[in-house]
Amino acid sequence: MSKKDLGLLILILVVGAVVTAINPRFLSTINLANTSNLVALFGILSIGQAFVIITGGIELSVGSLVALLGTLFIDFIAVREMNWPLAFVLIIALGAVIGFVHGWLITRLKMQPFVVTLCGLLIYRGVARFYTADGTAGFAFGQNFPDLEFLTAGRSGGLPNSFMALIVIAIVMWVVLHRSVFGRYLYAIGKNEEAAKYSGIRTGRVVIAAYVICGVLTALSAIYFAMYTRSISPASHGQFYELYAIAAAVLGGFSLRGGEGSLVGVILGTVLLQELQNLVNLLGIPSSLNFAVMGGVILIGVLVDQQWGVFRARRRMMEATRRNVAGAPAE
């Protein structure tokens, strides 16, 4: 764990302690279970976003995708009575295809990620609303999917199964991002795409793969969100979720220029965001202030982190000068 992540963890614990002191219900089993479920749902979404951000890109369409894919999933199993594993695979595949198209437009047709995914944000939301004729997608009374419900919204030993899923995904993605050849390529491209290309890396393919990963994880979280809310009105479901995901990554130390950030960071970022939401509820702060609290904390967090970075860079430079001057006068 890097110093940055450790700082974030301490912040999470301090905020948690303060909230508990004011309202002990923060540590109640039911509150922790609820919050950890939300952390899981947003965490999966944010990990996907992180893979795109590390390449220096951005994926703005994930909120709309959560709505569209969630609507489709519920429609598939509740209305069209498709068996759920098939629907599950279809939705994940659809997420992958959409991610691929985004990546393809960005790398092959040289469109800007912001533009491509902004258009996605508008298109998918529109399609979702059209699909249900602006109605609500939901389950009929008495309709049950015990296995699916257990896996998505169920609990084992008090712990939400969604949270277990997040842990498994996080471990796998940690290895991919921090230990694999692909992960190294992602960082290299984020730091300097040209230089990576000049080193013989097929940068286009790597970037497309990042968008596919984001699409797949978004689809997975869309299913979780759908099973969590159980009814979806496509006009508002998943709204601003792309911003939650981006905020989690930024809080977790990702640079929007790419090439920086850790998987632990993005998870901690998600935890902090959900903790803040929870804090607003538990401390009786008007919920209309919700976004303002979140925005304020992110702003201060990033500011402190940056100033700290400047301070460290300056110190490192001074040390380096001292070393250079003392050690190697000829070069």
Partner: protein, 523 residues
Amino acid sequence: MNYSDTSFAQSTTAPFLSLEAVRKTYPGVVALDGFSMEVGPGEVIGLVGENGAGKSTLMKILGGVTRPDSGTVTVDGVAHDGLTVEASIGSGIAFVHQELNLFENLDVAANIFFGREPLKAGPLRLVDRVRLREMVAPLLKRVGANFSADTPVASLSLAQQQMVEIAKALSIRARLVILDEPTSSLPIAETEKLLDVIKGLRAEGISVIFISHRLHEVERVADRVVVLRDGMLAGTLPKSEINHDQMVKLMIGRMLKEREKAAEAGRAPGGVALSASAVRTTAYPDHPVSLELRRGEILGLAGLVGSGRTELARVLFGIDERLGGSVALDGKTLGVGSAADAVANGIFLVPEDRKLTGILLDLSIAQNISLPNLPAHAKRSLVSTGAEIATAEKQKKALGIKAPSVLTRTGTLSGGNQQKVVLAKWLAMNPKVMILDEPTRGIDIGAKAEIYGLMRSLADAGVAVLMISSDMEEVIGVSDRIAVMHEGQVSGILDRDDFSQENVLLLAVGKKPRLTQAAGGVQ
């Protein structure tokens, strides 16, 4: 030869600038040690020395950025213990740095008088454009500019931009202009213009300190050469004694054997390794270019900047799209569609812009070296840090990369060592064809020699080496054959017997060279 500086009687007039026993230490190192020199009015001083010899410290003292520990700096008869920035500017010392400080989005006039624009009367303080032009015109004339005051700086060539910098210096009535490596990124023809400007300054009685690694330019323009070595005055050469060998001897205390070694004649190159036939690049889509590169040779690729050399290299390496023609390696046609294809075939490029494309400054030395060959440093597609470090250690030792460890961030290394990292990542992978685009730009003489030696040993090992260079001495000194490009095409290939600056220049501007024998080497 005159090793003791001050006795030199350049003229009877008082010097404009004189430094006496200037000493400057930083913790652990003496940057300048009792250094003295004089600059007379209208005198052009060539200041040479290896990187780290103390030139930068000297510049900082003259610019008022640093104070010397002891010694005196006398400018225009006024003695100072150390200059301040204000005193430096106030006494007419102006700098033209290697990296230009111009606003590319503004025009020439706005750049020259930036922050000092003549204003119209009235509360709006509008810029008086008419008067601004009147003020700029004579300055541009003095530097021999062939462009007008309202040209956007972005559309000027590098040499023209330097003229703007010099005009800026003149606009503040500079009496001493210090040019820091002004020609290091200029092509031949542009360098000529700049040298003319320097002569123009001298004729006006303005003193010049000309710092350069390109010794033949110093040779041509300097009235006197001051050589710095390890913070001390290594020697002063009066006009009659300025020559290349003397300068090098003083700079490093030994003769540069490497270049001579690199260019040992009488080699028998092998068969054709890489051949490009009728390749069309984006720079000159209508001018197909063909070139053959043999195993075991260093083929110098000369030409003016913009003649399509870099574009050809980029096409051969698969970075740029090939608009037509074909590329073959060892007789087999290649479909080089990306750099990854080129790398897979053993065709490697050391690009022109080290910092932007050669290496990733934020990654460590080891990570840079393993990057093109990462799957070989991984088990089940998980990176093995141990394998990376082992490869990097080997290369660090082989190339003499100076760094605390292979885990050091590449961005903290000197230019020469960064270039060695670029080379190391390819050397670790058995190159067949090595393309080097301006491999020694901005690198000091010691590291240059090592890079020449490396190129030669690559060629000896059977690698086909293509070296793009705008440095005439380098092209002639290092190559086995020289191909010269003109407007996107190879205008001629010279064999060793026909190597001369004149021939390269003639071909570069599209004229016929003078060959030693009728059936000479031009194709």
